[in-house]
C-alpha cells in the first residue's frame, strides 16, 4: 500500500520509524481484505446502520445552551471573541 497518498489526504506526516511500522501493518491488513472477494454480494444492499428505524429530527430551532465563553475557553488561540487561526488565503 502506498501510504504517502493517504498521509497527504489525512493531513499527517509520519516519522520514519512510524512509516516502517505502519507500512508493514497496512500491507498485512490489505492482504487480508482479499478474502472479501470470494463472497457473493450481488443484489445485496449495503448496511449503513443496524437500526431498522427512521432518523429522528428535532425542531429546526437554535438552542443556546452553552455560552460562547465556555466554547471559546477550549480554543488553542482566540481573539476578540473569535477562534484565531492563520490566514487560509494568502
Amino acid at each position: 500500500m502506498d501510504i504517502d497518498i493517504y498521509e497527504s489526504m489525512t493531513k499527517m506526516s509520519l516519522s520514519e520509524p512510524e512509516r516502517s511500522e505502519i507500512s508493514a501493518q497496512a500491507d498485512r491488513l490489505v492482504n487480508s481484505f482479499a478474502a472479501l472477494e470470494s463472497i457473493n454480494t450481488n443484489d445485496v444492499d449495503v448496511l449503513f446502520t443496524v437500526l431498522d428505524i427512521k432518523n429522528v429530527f428535532r425542531d429546526d430551532a437554535a438552542i443556546k445552551e452553552i455560552p460562547k465563553e465556555t466554547l471559546l475557553s477550549n480554543a488553542p488561540e482566540q481573539y476578540d471573541g473569535y477562534f484565531q487561526a492563520p490566514k487560509t488565503l494568502e
Binding site: 489525512t10 497496512a26 487480508s32 481484505f33 437500526l51 488553542p76
Partner: protein
C-alpha cells in the same frame, strides 16, 4: 496502565468510574490523546447525567488506549483502567465504549464481567465518537445482575442521539424461558479448551443447538474496514483550530493541520486514519468499503434467533489481536448485546438478540448456579 487519567478521589458503593472518552461537565476529557490535551467538557454526556441523577458519583476518568483503538502493532499488553479499577475493587462499576472487544476480553480474563448493551439503547451523546455505527457504552462489573441495575439507570431514548430505539427505559429481568444456546462449532473449535469443556458443560444446563456463523472468516475484515472508515472521518475534526492541542510550530494553515495531527496522534491512531482514508478513496471504495457494508448486511441477515436464544463464543482464539477481532465483530456489526464473564476458569462470551438482554442475564444466572 494506572487506574485513572484523572482521579476525583470518590469511592464507595455508588461510585462509578468513567472511561476518559465520556464527558463530565467542567472536567477534562482527553480519550488519552495528546490531541485533546487540556480539553474541558462543556456539558455532561447523557450517561454521566443519568448516573448523577440516579445518585451515583463519578470516581474518576479511567486510562484507556488512545481513542479506544487497540494496538494491532504491539497487542494489548496492559490491563485497561476500566477493567483494572473494578478488578482490584477500587470501584464496583466502570463505563466504557468497546468496539473492538478489548474490554469484553479483559473483563473476563480479570475475573470481572462486561455488559455490552444493544446498539441504540444507550445514548452516545457526550462520548468522544469513535466509529459511530458501533459506538456504545457498556458496563464493567463484578456481578452481571448488579451491572444490569446500573445499565437500567443509563439506558433509554435520548433525543440528542439520533440513532436510538424509542423506549424511554429498559428493565432487565430474569426470564422463565428455557434458554437454547447456539454453539458455532467451527468457531468454538478454534479454542480447544473452550470447545472441550465449556460447550460440554453448557450442554448439561441448557439445550444446545449446533449452528453456523456464516462468513465468520471475514468478520474481522468487515469490522476493521467499516470502523477505520468511520474513525478516520470522526477524527478529521482534530485540526488544532477550535479546541484541543495546537502545534507551536507552523507557517500557514496547512502546516498547522499537518503538524498538529502528526504531533497529536499516536501510531495506532495514525494507522487507523490512513486505513480509513484508503478504504474510502475513490479506487478502493467499491472493493473494500461498499463490499464490507454489503457483507455486514449478509452477516446480520444470516442470524436465526428463532432457532436459538443466545450464541456462545470464546473470548480469545490465540494472541493475535486482529484474529481476536472476529469474536467481537458479530455484536458490533449486528448491534447485538453480549456479556462476557469468567466461569470455572473459562472465559465465556454470550451474544443475544437485539433487546434480549433478559436472556443473557438469565443464562448467566443459570451458569452461576448450575455450572
Amino acid at each position: 496502565m494506572s487506574y485513572f487519567i484523572e482521579d476525583y478521589g470518590v469511592r464507595g458503593h455508588n461510585a462509578v468510574a468513567l472511561e476518559d472518552s465520556i464527558m463530565q461537565k467542567g472536567k477534562q476529557v482527553t480519550a488519552n490523546s495528546k490531541i485533546l490535551e487540556g480539553f474541558v467538557s462543556p456539558f455532561n454526556a447523557a450517561v454521566a447525567e443519568r448516573l448523577i441523577n440516579a445518585q451515583f458519583t463519578v470516581a474518576g476518568k479511567t486510562s484507556m488506549n488512545e481513542f479506544g483503538i487497540p494496538s494491532l502493532l504491539n497487542g494489548q499488553t496492559e490491563v485497561l483502567g476500566a477493567v483494572k479499577v473494578v478488578s482490584d475493587g477500587v470501584v464496583d462499576y466502570a463505563l466504557c465504549n468497546d468496539i473492538f472487544g478489548q474490554y469484553r476480553k479483559q473483563a473476563a480474563e480479570n475475573s470481572c464481567c462486561y455488559i455490552h448493551p444493544t446498539y441504540g439503547t444507550v445514548s452516545r451523546f457526550g462520548i468522544i465518537p469513535l466509529a459511530s455505527s458501533m459506538d456504545r457504552i457498556g458496563v464493567v462489573c463484578k456481578n452481571i445482575s448488579d451491572g444490569f441495575n446500573v445499565l437500567s439507570k443509563i439506558a433509554g431514548n435520548d433525543f440528542r442521539d439520533g440513532a436510538m430505539y424509542p423506549e424511554k427505559t429498559y428493565k432487565y429481568e430474569i426470564s422463565d424461558k428455557r434458554i437454547r444456546i447456539g454453539i458455532p462449532k467451527a468457531v468454538t473449535q478454534k479454542d480447544e479448551l473452550f470447545d472441550e469443556n465449556v460447550t460440554k458443560t453448557l450442554g448439561e444446563c441448557f439445550q444446545t443447538v449446533d449452528m453456523e456463523l456464516e462468513n465468520f472468516d471475514v468478520y474481522k475484515q468487515v469490522v476493521y474496514i467499516l470502523s477505520c472508515a468511520e474513525i478516520s472521518n470522526n477524527i478529521s475534526r482534530y485540526d488544532g483550530v477550535k479546541f484541543g492541542y495546537r502545534t507551536p510550530a507552523y507557517r500557514g494553515v496547512n502546516e498547522l493541520y499537518i503538524n498538529t495531527r502528526s504531533e497529536g496522534f499516536g501510531t495506532d491512531v495514525k494507522l487507523t486514519a490512513l486505513m480509513g482514508a484508503m478504504v474510502l478513496s475513490q479506487e478502493n471504495y467499491v472493493p473494500y468499503y461498499e463490499k464490507a457494508m454489503k457483507v455486514r448486511r449478509l452477516i446480520k441477515n444470516s442470524l436465526r434467533f428463532d432457532n436459538y436464544d443466545v450464541i456462545a463464543l470464546p473470548c480469545s482464539i490465540g494472541n493475535d489481536p486482529y484474529e481476536n477481532l472476529s469474536l467481537y465483530a458479530l455484536s458490533a456489526l449486528a448491534g447485538l448485546p453480549s456479556v462476557t464473564f469468567k466461569h470455572n476458569g473459562h472465559n465465556i462470551q454470550l451474544v443475544g438478540n437485539v433487546k434480549r438482554e433478559d436472556l443473557l442475564l438469565t443464562a448467566w444466572e443459570v451458569c452461576r448456579h448450575e455450572l
